[in-house]
Structure formats: structure tokens, C-alpha cells
Subunit: 518 residues, 2 copies
């Protein structure tokens, strides 16, 4: 085919005549090559890793489909404990939240006597805030005004009166969206002046993925596993000083309660971090999506914002702090709605306009997710008709999680070669596992991380789907996995039992390999 | 305050004592500077422009609030014709769609006799596809399987039997999300080998914004205003050849029906574009979110995919084509749900895995938006109970839009100094406006684009909010604005009348300035 000739002829006709299974060639007679190949793919995209939905999870899906099609495996079901997806693990939605979302979605239901008045009142208020009183309108880029106002009131109550300005509230598409937006703003410079982002290790891999995508510099600070994964201020100093040699550290990210590590940060530690950020001119990003998930009765959640306030105006009026919340975790577990918010303090006014502009390109967060967020920050009050049921449902979820946190920690610690810190909060255990040297060698020779091999075998032999610690980061030479505490208590016990048996068998297998002559 | 001393003392106590309105200083005695300023902001973020929600719209919001607070203006309401936000302009939701979403949100309603059986059947099917049968679970990164299957069936029917594989379907957070994801994959190289992205001028500014953010090279090809904004293949060649000198053109983006230009592309033209993309090894991105919005009775929508198929297997099996659809436009106008899908053909298998990985970092598109998308691709069938009402509502919306498209074009063309192409499809008119040389000079001396000044004055004097053509791109020396055809017919007539009066007054004012001695 000659391009130039083509143009002279009526294109449609010719092409129809030329159909067939000939090799695709362009006008130069060459094969038409793919435009987008691994060689031409954006290298920043290539660099992204996201273990929570990585190869293990893909394999789990394959096995699940295989089981459905009658394939034989040494188990009858895959138990997914890889992702904090509460409803998928059987948790029921909070009735009140879903009533409000249904009323907003189909306002005819506002006339139905089967919906309680407080749910209707919430729905009417949200719809009043929407263009044309419809969930189908775009909201403002920062979100629906009245929902942002409700978020501000919630934060004030949570923080015992610390003032919250709804102008600082941005509704987001889950917390991830907010986190990536703020990081995107903060990345600049080249070479030694390139922005550095301090993140905990182990971390939730959204952070490392976003840092790769934005070509920022990842600065690891290690949490102290021997001290219940506490954040050690000296380690922050060490990491910062080391990083200063090759980049410009500009942000510190904290996840509290911790993911995947489950620790709840002490007030003193938060104050130290904020003081450090103040001294070193760092922007603080505080991921607080598990703020309702604290299980240890002697611990409590402290927001970075409240602590900053208590440190006095010279801190509260200067330190740039973005904190994040979400509909996906807590007691509601509404991941699918992709609701969330961030509160951003002390942002330069011109920069703020830039942030709003950036958000406006994506138009707005999903409005039904915004509605779900509204219910979480504005739940039924004691005098309202839905209060009792709401309270009962919320307590049941959080009570079960607390129980499962304890069962998980205790059972794992009975297994030789597994050591698990208390699951103080969030939804995960991140136990350290002993992997025998021969197994480490084997994995290394395959170019795989030892805990990846461990998790793959665990999946193949037991149907349990966990995420290897290497996906979150861990100290060199240590191995872990992350498991959620979300399966039902009954299923969790089965999981832990299978895991114990597997681990013991695994150790035994390699023990015999290590000492073949005994 | 001395940082080192601080560490020795119990931090909390000291800080509480030191509260006051002292200047914020760090341990070096310097003022604490902001980390994030206009100087340190990511320059790619700074480069982003998005006129649809730009300064005019901000000002319109200010005026609206002013009116509510009793401020005096020469008008009593702001008429927003700046954004394709149907429900905000009074369009009612499609009942069936909202019934399905409400049923999915609050499945207890499945027992209610007031919901039709076909809506219940859709909701049950969607819920079956969700983890734990809940809209609150994360879906797979590509979206809920059965919804992707429904999308594939819809595409096959739309394209008269052209095969569609649901493995190529990705549900997205509105079309914008899909477009940015694909562009992100395609950007690589430095200097002369940097990826170039061909976009129409005028364009929807999501494209230019994403190109700025990704630091790709924008390659403009101009639509032919004198020929109803048709795409001229010679102009594509010109733009491509010119761009090859300084970048590596890798993608061509087409918006059909056009935004902001409202043209519906001919089948012949689509074939020419695809042939060109084939020859030049370009990835094709076809933005088809207005596929249901065709008003001229003698025109019809042709999907790029169908045309590619008809060009024969040497094209259909090789050209990389991503096409995009959305819940936001069409007859449903469900912008707030942020639903959408893309179909991606001929993607290299390894690259596909990379795309899924990239999407997985954001976990999943909002599941209620996925449910809304499902209804749009799987509406009631003629034998089903909701068919009549659905059909009536759909026809009413599309009929009204067709009428308003005509009123808009006709009225604008009665105004001296305004010339409007037929609004063949989409939701916008993009008329050319004559701006007198003195007005152009005045604007230029203020560092503003003349059509921005025009739109600002229009807003201030009449309350009408439009977007200046400069936000979409236009040929040097020509001026336009984009207005939606979404206001109710009655309000649209008022808008057009006010606009005519304003334009005539504007021309008169500058005519007297131009010839002061007459």
C-alpha cells in the first residue's frame, strides 16, 4: 500500500477491498509497530509498584475462578486477607448511611414512611447543597459546601474545640486522591534540589507509588518494630540528615494509626514530629483514615491538628499540615463510594488557588461519596430516631474488630518463628516471620523476595491471600506479611490455624534441608 | 527557642507556656518560611489551565453570593452556561437510573413493591458482581466484571455487531480519569524525542491541562471553522510534519461530537484520521462522550471503533485505539456520579498489565458511578415495565436539546458581529464574535485576552456566565465564547436576548470610540 496513491483514491472503497489477513504494513512497506510498548511506556509508570493488588492477588483471582470451574486445589475457598475491604469480607453497611444515600439518589423516597426522619433531614440538606438539588450535578471542585461545613464541625468536636474552617476542607475521591494531589503540588526541582518525601517504613504503598510516578525522592524512616512500631524521633533526624545530601526534603508523611503496622502514635511522639517539621520547614501529611479504628483500651487517637494547636500559635499558625480521612475505613468500611476529605492548614493563599485549579481539572469528587462522607461526620444524635440502631451497628463493628485484633495477635504469637506486635489500631497485623536461610537463598536465586515466595506458597497450599512485607518495605534481612483482621471471627480462626500449620510445615521442610545429614 | 534545649525538656509543657503571638521562628532564629510557595510549587501544576472553571466562573460565584446577600446588580440572577452540568440547569434525572442506584445503595428496597421489577433485576445483577454484594466494596481496578460485560454488549449493539471484548473495557471515574490515565502511559522521552499529543483546536481544556501536567508536547491541529468545524486531513498532515521537527508525535486525540465546537464528524473523515494514524504509528484517543447527543437529523454518530473495523483487519488488529464514554453527558447528564468507561484496542499485553497496575493504585472507580454507567449501557428493553417511562424521559431530554441547539444557532446568527456554526451535536455553541480593534487593544494593554474581557463584562452587566474562546484555543486573531445549550428553553431565550443586546451595545460603544471625530 502506498500512502500517496491512497489519498488519490476514495479511501473507503480501497480499504474494503484490501481486507484480509495480510501482515499489517504501513506506507513504507514496514510492519506497523505498536506505538505503546514496554520500551516506549512512560518510565515513571513502569516504576510504580502497588503490592496490595500485586501478583499474589492476581493469582488468587485465577485460583478462585479455577475453583469455580471445578479445578482441584488442597482447599475449597480462597480467603482474601490482602486488602482493607470490609464489605467484601462480609461486614454489613451501616443502615443510616445507606438510607441517606438512597434518599439522595432517588428523592421520591423522601415521601416514603419507611425512612426515618433524621435520614430524610440529612438527605434534604445534602440535596439543598447540590446544583438543581441533584446528586447528578457536578459539585464545586472542593466539594459540596454544606458537607464541607459538616466536616469542619466534626473536626472541631473531635478535637475538643480546636477551630476548623470549612474553607480549609476539600472533599476527595477517597483519601488516595487527596494524598496524591498534595504530593503533586510539592514535587519540584532537579538533582540535589529535587523534592524528598519522608515516609515510614513499612508504609502503605500508595506513597511509594505516587513518589515513583511523580519522580520525587523517597526518604525512608524506619518504624521501631521492637517498640510496637513506634516512630522514633532520632530515626527521623537520621533519615533527614542523610537525605539532605542528595535531595531537598520537603514533606513528611505519617500514617496514624499505622498501615500496615497497626500502631497508635502517642501524643508525645506526634508533638516531636510536629516540632521536627517546624524546625526543618517540612510540610506535614498526616494520614488519619483509621482514626476510628483504635482497639487498645489504654490508647487513644490524637489528631496531628489538635496537637499542633496545643503546641501554640507559633506552630498552629505556621506549620503546613494536610490531614486525610476517608469513608473506606472506620466502622463504615464504605470503600466503593470513594469518599474522603482533607483539611489543609496554613497553605499559602496563592498556592491554595493553584490547588483548587488542579482539582478543578477533574471537576469534582463523586457526589454520592461526598454524601457518604457527610453521614460519617454527621451521624445520628442521641435524641434522633436512628441513634439506637446506628450506635448498635457501629459498636458491633468496632467491637468485633477489637476482638479480632486480639485473636490475631495472640494466635500468631503462638506460632514458632512468627512474632506479632499488638494490633493497636487500623485493620492489619504485620507480623515478622522467620524464613530459614535456605528458603531465602532459594528465593534470591529466583530473583524473588523471600516473603513473596512464602506468600505464594501459602496461597497455593492453603488458599490464604496475604501481601508480602516487601511490598510495604521492611528492614533489610527481615521478612513480614500483612494480613487484614477483616474476615469473620470464624473464618479468621480458620485462616490463623491454616497459617500456623503452613508455617510449621515450612520451617520443618527447610530445617531438614538445612541439616541433610542428621 | 533553641531546638536542642527543647529536646531535653518535656516538650508539651514548654510549648504550652510559650503560646502567644510571637513571630514564628525556628531554631536558627529565622522566621519559619512556608514550604509550599508559588516559587516552590510544582511548575507543571502551575502550567495547568482549566478555563471551564476559571476566573470567570469564580467571579460568577462571587456575584451569586452577593445577590443572595442583597447586593445590587443590573440583573437578578446569574445564568450559568459555562459548564455541561445538565442537572444543575434543571434537567431531571432519568427515573430508572436512579431507581437502580437507590436499590443498589439500600438493598432493603428490593422488597419494596414500589420499585419496578426490571430495576430490581438490574440492581440484583450489579450487587451480585460486587464483593459481599455491597456497593461499599472496592471493585476490581478495571471495574465490576458484569458491568464491563454489559458495556461490551452495548458497544457491539451500537456498532452493529462489531465484536467487543469485555477484557478491553475499563470503568473509569468519569471520562477525564480514563483520558489522563492513557495520556500518562504515553508520555516519555526528552527533548526532540519527547511525546507529542495532537489535539484539536478548539479543544476541551482537559487535554491541554493534562499535557501540561505531564510535560508532554501539545501539537495543535486546527478545526475548520468555515466548514462547520470539520477536521481537515491536510491540516493533520501539516501539524504532524511541523511537530516532527521538535518532538515525537505519538497520539492523536479527537473529540466527536466536538466539544466546544459541536460538530459531528463524517464517516469519511474518521476513516481518513484512522488511516493517518495507521500510517504514522499514532495511538488514537477518541473522546465520544457526546455519542448520544446528535441533533441534526441528517447526521449520525460513527464510532472510531466501528470505522476501524470496517477498514479491515490490517487496521482493526493493529491500530491502538482508546475510546471514552461517560455518565455525565448524553441524555442522563449524571455528572456527579463520576461514571465512565474506556475501551482500549490492540494494547500490547505487557503494557496492559502496566495500565491495570497504574489504575490499581487508585483502587477503583466509584462503584455507584459504575452502577449508573451500567444503566446507561443496559437500559429497559421494549418488553420491560420501565421501558415506556424511560423512553419518554430520554426522548424529552434529547428533543429539548435538539430544539435548544437550533434556537441557539439561529438566534446568535441574527446578531451582527456574531457567527455561529450549526450545533450538530454535544451541548455547546462556540460562536465567533467580532471584537472591535479598540477593544482588542484595550484588552491587550491589560494583558488579558479580548474574549476574556468580553465575557467578564458580559457577566458583570447581564449575569450571563460563559467561557472565553481563549480557554479552548482558537486561530490567532479570532475570538469566540463557549455557551452550553442547557438552560431551560425559556431561560435560554432570555440569555440569548440579553447577549444580543449586550453585543450590540458593546459594538456601538467601541464604534464611537473608533471614530471619535464623526
Amino acid at each position: 500500500m502506498e500512502g500517496r496513491q491512497e489519498e488519490a483514491r476514495p479511501v473507503g472503497t480501497i480499504l474494503a477491498n484490501e481486507r484480509g489477513d495480510t501482515c499489517p504494513k504501513n506506507s513504507n512497506g514496514k510492519m506497523r509497530e505498536k506505538t505503546l510498548t514496554m520500551d516506549t511506556l512512560n518510565p515513571q509508570v513502569k516504576a510504580v509498584e502497588y503490592a496490595v493488588r500485586g501478583p499474589i492477588v492476581t493469582k488468587a483471582g485465577d485460583i478462585e475462578r479455577g475453583l469455580q470451574q471445578g479445578q482441584k486445589h488442597p482447599f475449597t475457598e480462597v480467603i482474601k486477607a490482602n486488602i482493607g475491604d470490609s464489605h467484601a469480607m462480609g461486614q454489613k453497611p451501616i443502615t443510616f448511611l445507606r438510607q441517606v444515600v438512597a434518599l439522595c439518589s432517588f428523592p421520591e423516597l423522601l415521601n416514603s414512611p419507611s425512612f426515618p426522619e433524621d435520614a430524610k433531614q440529612r438527605a434534604r440538606r445534602i440535596l439543598q447543597g447540590c446544583g438543581g438539588q441533584s446528586l447528578g450535578s457536578y459539585s464545586a471542585s472542593q466539594g459540596v459546601d454544606c458537607i464541607r461545613q459538616d466536616v469542619a464541625v466534626y473536626i472541631e468536636q473531635r478535637d475538643k474545640g480546636v477551630p476548623a474552617d470549612w474553607d480549609n476542607i476539600y472533599l476527595t475521591t477517597g483519601a488516595s486522591d487527596g494524598i496524591v494531589s498534595i504530593l503533586k503540588m510539592l514535587v519540584s526541582g532537579q538533582g540535589r534540589s529535587r523534592s524528598g518525601v519522608m515516609i515510614p517504613i513499612p508504609q502503605y504503598p500508595l506513597y511509594s507509588a505516587a513518589i515513583s510516578e511523580l519522580e520525587a525522592v523517597q526518604i525512608n524512616y524506619y518504624l521501631d518494630e521492637d517498640n510496637c512500631w513506634a516512630l522514633d524521633i532520632n530515626e527521623l533526624h537520621r533519615a533527614y540528615q542523610a537525605a539532605k545530601e542528595h535531595c531537598h526534603p520537603r514533606v513528611i508523611c505519617i500514617i496514624n494509626p499505622g498501615n500496615p503496622t497497626g500502631q497508635v502514635q502517642s501524643r508525645k511522639c506526634i508533638e516531636e514530629v510536629l516540632h521536627f517539621a517546624y524546625e526543618e520547614n517540612l510540610f506535614v501529611m498526616s494520614d488519619e483514615v483509621y482514626q476510628d479504628n483504635v482497639y487498645s483500651p489504654d490508647l487513644q487517637f490524637h489528631s496531628f491538628k489538635k496537637v499542633l494547636y496545643e503546641m501554640g500559635p507559633e506552630y498552629f499558625n505556621t506549620v503546613e499540615l494536610a490531614s486525610f480521612h476517608s469513608t473506606s475505613k472506620g466502622y463504615s468500611g464504605e470503600c466503593g463510594f470513594r469518599g474522603g476529605y482533607m483539611e489543609v492548614l496554613n497553605l499559602d493563599l496563592e498556592v491554595k488557588a493553584q490547588l483548587v485549579k488542579l482539582l478543578s481539572v477533574r471537576l469534582c469528587p463523586p457526589v454520592s461519596g461526598q454524601a457518604a462522607m457527610d453521614v460519617i461526620v454527621n451521624p445520628p444524635l442521641p435524641h434522633e430516631p436512628s441513634y439506637l440502631q446506628f450506635h448498635k451497628e457501629k459498636s458491633a463493628v468496632l467491637g468485633a474488630l477489637a476482638e479480632k485484633a486480639q485473636i490475631t495477635e495472640q494466635t500468631l504469637n503462638t506460632v514458632p518463628g512468627i512474632k506479632c506486635n499488638p494490633v493497636q489500631g487500623a485493620m492489619y497485623a504485620f507480623p515478622r516471620i522467620f524464613i530459614p536461610p535456605r528458603a531465602v537463598e532459594e528465593a534470591t536465586s529466583l530473583g524473588m523476595s523471600p516473603d513473596m515466595v512464602y506468600c505464594l506458597r501459602l496461597l497455593e497450599e492453603t488458599g490464604i491471600c496475604l501481601v508480602p512485607g516487601s511490598g510495604f518495605g521492611q528492614r533489610e534481612g527481615t521478612y513480614h506479611f500483612r494480613m487484614t483482621i477483616l474476615p469473620t471471627t470464624e473464618k479468621l480462626k480458620v485462616l490463623l490455624e491454616k497459617l500456623r500449620d503452613f508455617h510449621i510445615k515450612f520451617l520443618k521442610e527447610y530445617a531438614s534441608l538445612e541439616e541433610p545429614k542428621r
